[in-house]
Amino acid sequence: MMNIFNYIERKSPVHAMTGASKLVCLLLWSFGAMSSFDPRYLFALFVIAVILFRISKIRVADIRFMLWFTLAFCILNNVLIFLFSPQHGTEIYGTYHEIVHIAGRYTLTWEQLLYHLNVFLKYLATIPIVLLFVTTTEPSEFASSLNRIGVNYKIAYSVSLALRYIPDIQREYHDITLSLQARGVEMSKKASLGSRLKTTSGTLVPLILSSMDRIEVISNAMELRSFGKNKKRTWYRDRKFTAWDFGAMLLGLAVLLVSIWLTSFVNGGRYYNPFV
């Protein structure tokens, strides 16, 4: 319950990189993957990601739970897209190549299939990188990384503080619900939605009021130790960049540049269109 960031400690070059360079790589990478709908490009990203995974020594078994979640989410999203817009591919690619007519307005086309392939590949191209970042970056390093890439240090520190107090708040919520159950509050599924919401609010009131009290004490404690005094601050977790860090950032930059190159010069837009 404590390890919400799912950090997995191993010895690998990916672990040894600073959080900041990994974050830069992640942001550039996901921006590149988001903007392009070229399946060749997305598949290449997927292959690189798998290689990085091997380097990081994170095993599939370590992240099975998260993978299942993502897969379910991905399938659901694809099904919804097809249900709502079976001809979305045709709208995008401008052509119509029928594979099979299913029923009513639902006709499966090659265009639609290509679009779904793209959506699916987008997951494959980005999820491994996100998981890699999450499993190889210590939460403590996350805040300093944000600051290093330009986020205001106070905001960056609030991320660190949130991570610090999540386990406390979680435990407190657990205790509060138990004590209320002992007094007879029931979280049954039979009750109507409205009354369930009211019951939940009842359990939230003590949690939220006691958390509000914390805000004052914590900010006092921080001010007493000079938080917010200067325009900048240093971070205990900061490390010097190594060649690997520059490599990671260059990789991210390359991914983005290829995406821009494909969009601007090769495909004449975000889509790779084999139909014309």
Binding site: I4, M66, V134, S158, L161, Q170, L204, M212, S219, G228
Partner: protein, 182 residues
């Protein structure tokens, strides 16, 4: 008690942490299969009404991004930004609702709810779907319907949970005339 800048930072952190815990662990199954009622927007509405637009915007952004991170499905920037926008708009109500200094009466309840409805409509029926279309090229009818469902569910949730939380928070802040003791 003064509202120092440091206090806003801590409010963002505690708000984001609560948003995360409620979003991740307080699941109320909704009548629509596979979707949960998002109690955390009631909390975010309170954060907005109590601390203003900036705190709620950042708390919503961080809280939502952390939830996405912890599931591992990548960050859906469109929805994360929508959460932040909701926080911002409901935060504008702060100066009208004045939770800390005035009674949370019927008129204020209405004001608060007007803001939260506007916030949710803008977040889920405008921002999220438009960003989905721009960023992920998703079909418009799918994203708008998803957005509309989310907006309605969140409006109802916030109307109940948010109002109850605001009332409790306001009651817990001693008001000028109520400090008189026997």
């Amino acid at each position: 008690m003064k509202n120092t800048p440091v206090k806003s930072i801590v409010a963002i952190a505690i708000g984001a942490a609560l948003f995360f815990v409620l979003g991740r662990f307080v699941a109320i199954p909704s009548p629509v299969p596979n979707t949960n009622i998002s109690v955390q927007y009631g909390l975010l509405a309170l954060m907005g009404a109590a601390f203003g637009p900036f705190v709620a915007l950042v708390a919503g952004f961080i809280g939502h991004a952390l939830i996405d991170f912890s599931y591992g499905w990548g960050i859906w920037w469109s929805w994360v930004i929508a959460s932040a926008v909701f926080g911002f708009i409901v935060g504008v109500s702060k100066n009208h609702v004045k939770l800390a200094t005035e009674k949370f009466d019927r008129r204020k309840i209405v004001t608060f709810n007007v803001y939260q409805v506007i916030g949710h409509v803008l977040a889920w029926i405008v921002i999220a779907p438009v960003l989905d279309i721009v960023m992920y090229a998703e079909p418009w009818n799918k994203v708008f319907l998803q957005g509309a469902v989310a907006a309605i569910a969140n409006i109802v949730t916030t109307a109940i949970v948010g109002t109850i939380l605001c009332a409790a928070y306001s009651a817990a802040k001693p008001k000028k005339d109520s400090l008189e003791k026997k």
